[in-house]
């Protein structure tokens, strides 16, 4: 199945602040659901739609993103003619400043593909979605650009792209980050546009010296262009702040939610790590409503939590309502409630940490507490 479209993923969103979670890495590289990262969902959605050429625009902190995506082989994107491109900015060799704007690298990527359409995705949401309906609708309606939206209420206190539509579902007004617009139609950062029009817009950006290439920036053309909106009514997590990240993680404990997010018809691919299976020890305590991953060693008690790969829960430790990132270690007797523990961090023997529902405590990467 070949789809006449390429993908473009914006790895960062400077409006999204996850504190210690995205400080050391691009938003797209933030871990999610035990063994995945946010970008896995976007990449898999594109791949499952038959897209075989995907560029990821990464401005900064792309080391972990680069390590994660590798050659693209886990998404079957290690191809001769197409495949996966990481698009960092160009640096001017003389001034040592970025060459003009982000746009030149993107232009080079878009120009060298021969697909007629480009799917552009942000990295501040997680979903397992079909992209074909949007493309089909786009072709049929003859719109200049087509964008998905969801009726998921006011998703965040900080970030929103509220849409007001005309009778043809074309955007007639865009309200950005407005608090009062609850329950309206909100775009979430997936759109499709013809390669040709995208190139024209990018060149205009270059000419005007506009630095920021973003979904909002594209949608703001609604007054000049016909931008059609299509409702997406499937499962959707918005990752806009620590609270929404934590709440989304907890929703994964619901089997129904997992069944939809990990529909075997449209697998979510990720980097394979070859960790040993998870071992639950003979002396383990209660183990209830827990998502666990390979490489974990569980000797204590865990409830209502998500464990990433390689977590160690010591004897008599108690972990409740937590998200533990890769290789986090909860030592003997420690007690954690409503905590997000960063990668490689250690909670010392007997340590006690507690956040509150709606305001989890966050332990940074590589910390010892």
């Amino acid at each position: 199945m070949l789809t006449n479209a390429m993908g473009l993923i914006l790895a960062d969103n400077r409006r999204v602040h996850l504190g210690p979670l995205n400080q050391p890495r691009a938003l797209a590289a933030v871990p999610f659901a035990g063994r995945f990262r946010i970008v896995d969902f976007t990449l898999s959605n594109m791949v499952n739609c038959g897209i075989k050429r995907i560029g990821i625009v990464a401005l900064t902190r792309y080391k972990s993103l680069m390590d994660h995506v590798g050659t693209g082989s886990w998404w079957d994107l290690d191809r001769i003619r197409q495949g996966l491109y990481l698009i960092p900015p160009y640096i001017n060799p003389v001034t040592r400043a970025p060459d003009r704007t982000d746009a030149q690298g993107i232009i080079d990527y878009v120009e060298s593909g021969d697909q007629d359409y480009v799917f552009i995705s942000a990295s501040d949401y997680v979903s397992n979605m079909r992209l074909h309906p949007l493309l089909d609708q786009h072709k049929e309606s003859g719109a200049d650009m087509s964008v998905y939206y969801a009726r998921d209420g006011h998703p965040s206190r900080r970030i929103s792209m509220g849409l007001e539509l005309d009778e043809d579902s074309m955007i007639k007004r865009l309200r950005v980050d407005q608090r009062e617009m609850e329950n309206e139609q909100n775009a979430f950062g997936l759109l499709v546009v013809s390669r040709e029009l995208l190139l024209r817009m990018l060149e205009e950006m270059m000419a005007r010296g506009i630095a920021d290439f973003s979904i909002v920036g594209l949608l703001e053309h609604y007054s000049r262009l016909r931008i059609q909106a299509l409702e997406y009514d499937g499962l959707l997590f918005r990752i806009h702040d620590i609270e929404s990240y934590f709440e989304s993680s907890m929703r994964l404990l619901d089997p129904q939610v997992r069944n939809e997010l990990f529909d075997p018809e449209r697998p979510i691919y990720t980097k394979v790590k070859n960790r040993a299976p998870c071992i639950v020890s003979p002396e383990s305590g209660l183990l209830r409503n827990v998502l666990g991953s390979d490489g974990c060693a569980i000797m204590g008690q865990v409830e209502d939590s998500v464990l990433f790969r390689g977590c160690v829960i010591g004897r008599n430790a108690r972990v409740t309502n937590c998200v533990l990132f890769q290789d986090a270690q909860v030592s003997e007797g420690a007690v954690l409630d409503h905590v997000i523990v960063g990668k490689n961090s250690v909670v010392r023997m007997g340590g006690k940490l507690a956040g509150r529902p709606g305001a989890p405590l966050v332990v940074a990467k590589n910390a010892i507490v």
């Binding site: 659901a33 063994r35 639950v280 666990g292």
Partner: protein, 426 residues
């Protein structure tokens, strides 16, 4: 670059008939092991970790699943431009060759393949051993001793030595005698079935062996004893670590259990020597609100709502509420219904155990129609791709296979085959 210093040949052609219904439709090396592996992951990963990048896998019996599993070799990083993994089945030539007659004949028939890489050393490995071994060190020892053949050996308890092929050596480690299952062993050094040969020597020996009408063309039975008898430079290489041949139901069960009991021996958590595998991409495993899980290995996609003790659970296994699984090996994709009880069972891939089934050593009112001489130690084996009907009770030492779907249609059915294949191949 075609030339490779060392290449490995993995013998993966045998039917593995002592595993009974587990190998009806797959070669033994493709049998699942240890929650998320197949047996062949161990030699393949050892090759990769040892820096050996050309691996021939000699197949003959039911190679399709193995072939699909190995695919392009990518999960083991063995998708190399020159080299990588090659499935090597028997083939026709001008001389009209035939099926592989024995392990040595299998290598003999592939001399042109090996010649193509012009190697100095060829490792002969088995596709059905569980161990982590640095073959590079063995090759280094082979070079240092100026050996023509080097045989990896492991010390076994003297009491068990008579069950193995035993190497008698001189003070330098040079093999003076090889005894297959000696009644009165003179040493406790058992051959692991892992050989390093100088290719020039092995090549000559294979051609000679092929010409000998009395030979059964077997490494252990003919080639190695022949080399020793001729006084060639045959040395042992001592391996200190976990090693198990998983050729029988009991040894397969034990070796899986070793992951729980002796997890420090075959240390799968040691990331400096990872064991690679190829599995479908599934979400993390899930422990349900009422699950009780103790001393158990579990991996991606498994969902445990019941009780699980001392067991090895594969990916995509679903254990429903009220089910009890004890001392068992549940291979990937198995579905265990509500209230089913499994004790000392090995359940093959994608089999469905309907609710209320009891498979226990002394199941009350249990049927003993399925007893098999291949099963001992009260271990029961259930083939992949079956449906075990609601409420069936069976005693220990049973082996249930597709044939029983015809003989005992009340108790056993086959899963629809299309669905089955689809799931197996991920």
């Amino acid at each position: 670059m075609a030339k490779q210093e060392t290449i490995a040949m993995i013998l993966a052609g045998g039917q593995g008939s002592r595993l009974g219904v587990l190998t009806d439709f797959v070669a033994k090396p493709a049998v699942p092991f240890g929650s998320r592996y197949r047996i062949i992951d161990f030699p393949l990963s050892n090759c990769m970790n040892s820096g050996i990048e050309t691996v021939g896998v000699l197949t003959q019996y039911q190679p399709l699943e193995l072939n699909s599993y190995i695919g392009n070799g990518h999960p083991w990083d063995l998708d190399r431009n020159s080299g990588g993994t090659f499935i090597l089945p028997p083939y026709l030539s001008l001389e009209g060759n035939d099926w592989y007659k024995g392990t040595a004949n299998a290598i003999y028939q592939n001399i042109p393949f090996i010649d193509g890489y012009d190697p100095r050393f060829v490792l002969i490995l088995s596709g059905d051993h569980i161990y982590k071994m640095d073959y590079a060190k063995m090759v280094a020892a082979h070079i240092e001793k100026e050996a023509e053949a080097t045989i990896a050996v492991i010390e076994v308890p003297w009491s068990e030595a008579s069950r193995f092929g035993i190497m008698n050596v001189d003070g330098e480690g040079r093999v003076t005698e090889f005894e297959e299952k000696p009644a009165e062993p003179k040493s406790n050094l058992a051959s692991m079935g892992v050989y390093c040969f100088s290719w020039e020597v092995l090549r000559r020996e294979l051609i000679e062996d092929e010409r000998n009408p009395k030979s059964e063309n077997d490494f252990g039975g003919d080639v190695i004893p022949g080399l020793i008898a001729k006084g060639r430079q045959v040395y042992t290489y001592h391996f200190n670590g976990y090693w198990k041949d998983v050729g029988t139901v009991s040894s397969l069960w034990e070796s899986n259990m070793d992951l729980l009991i002796n997890s420090d021996q075959i240390d799968l958590r040691d990331m400096s020597w990872p064991i690679f595998s190829k599995n479908p991409q599934r979400p993390s495993h899930y422990f349900g609100p009422d699950s009780i899980v103790k001393n158990t290995a579990v991996t991606d996609g498994a969902e445990l709502y019941g009780e699980v003790y001392n067991s090895v659970i594969g990916y995509n296994v679903l254990i429903e509420k009220g089910a009890v699984v004890r001392d068992s090996i549940i291979m990937p994709g198995v579905h265990i219904g509500e209230g089913a009880v499994l004790d000392r069972c090995i359940v093959g891939m994608n089999t469905v155990i309907e609710s209320g089934v009891r498979a226990e050593p002394d199941a009350e009112g249990g049927r003993d129609d399925f007893l098999s001489p291949l099963c001992q130690d009260d271990i029961t084996v259930i083939a992949p791709g079956l449906i075990i009907r609601e409420g069936l009770a069976i005693t220990g030492n049973s082996m249930i296979g597709p044939a029983h779907a015809k003989s005992h249609p009340d108790a056993v059915a086959e899963c629809p085959s299309l669905l089955r294949r689809e799931m197996e191949l991920c």
